[in-house]
């Protein structure tokens, strides 16, 4: 699998590391080169400085050949827009979007994006710990 991950924060870096270890071809994008320090020394994928909302950066990252696009920046709107560009402009077969706001996550699920909303998931996990 050939995957592009937008955003090399904790989640993006962790996901890139996991997929890379399984032998997938990973390109990870972030606007801040310092963020690539989160990647392990044996990371075999490509870490690229670039903005996932910029068409030239996406092309340089190889979006035209990508099987999967995942957006995991801290900004919901950025994630949603980048995923829609990947889906509608570059026809990436599988597009996965992190959206913190559960209402927007539901809306974009209806509009055809694969969405993950950590807010609900984490709140439920925390609640489980508290009430058992």
């Amino acid at each position: 699998m050939n995957a592009i991950i937008m955003g090399c924060g904790r989640v993006g870096a962790q996901l890139a590391t996991m997929l890379d270890a399984e032998g997938h071809k990973i390109t990870i994008l972030d606007v801040e080169p310092f963020s690539f320090k989160k990647l392990p020394a044996d990371f075999k994928g490509t870490a690229m400085v670039g903005n996932g909302l910029d068409y030239d950066s996406l092309k340089r990252a190889g979006i035209e050949e990508a099987d999967v696009f995942i957006s995991a920046t801290p900004g919901d709107n950025r994630n949603v827009m980048a995923c829609q560009i990947a889906k509608h402009i570059y026809n990436v077969p599988k597009v996965v979007c992190r959206i913190y706001d559960p209402i927007r996550a539901d809306m974009y699920r209806e509009l055809g994006l694969l969405t993950v909303s950590p807010t609900k998931v984490v709140a439920e996990l925390l609640k489980e710990k508290v009430v058992g």
Binding site: D76, N77, V80, M81, Q84, H88, I89, D101, R104, M107
Partner: protein, 220 residues
Amino acid sequence: MYIVVVGGGEVGYHLSKILLNDGHEVLILEQNPARCDWLAEELGGIIYRGDGCEAATLDCVGTGRADMLVAVTDGDEDNLISCQVAKHMFNVPRTIARIRNPNNEKIFRILGVDATVSSTDIILAHIEQELPLHPLVRLMKLKSGELEVVEIWIPPDSESIGKKLSSFHMPKGAAVLLVISKNKGIQIPSDDTVLEADDKLVTVMHTESEDSIRALLTGK
């Protein structure tokens, strides 16, 4: 009309002022509290502090009865999401977004935003018009964004001078609407119209045929 304006920056402020003067009902959504206070002092109690991309906020300000939502923050992604939420959750009949990256026009159109205004394109067009003897000046885009009206200048050393306009094989969907000539003034082109040096041809065309038509008509 009831118009929701997302973003109370310079563009949002001046736009709202004009819309209010025209007698429309306007509400501005702005996140920065100090900016909200300033706007309220200038324009009165038509400001609501909140995120114009959040369904809950849009619900609070009655977006469901809005005739139009105009998103003019300085983030293209925020403007897009605002328009999409307004469209899909509140059925706002008309959504308009400001874009900064002109390349974003296409994705906004695909995703159902009714109109986009690219400040970059507008500034560029004005600068092109000010540049002396620019071979191609984009005058306006037509509604769908696929067609545009441009002005093509025939330079004095062009091979096209002296040729009949009808002898050029224009691509499908393109047409010369007007010939503005130094000597003859404004002419509506006919089969007999002959091109002269420094003519300006007001032409409608598909955006992607810009280069080929310019090359065809200017002979370069």
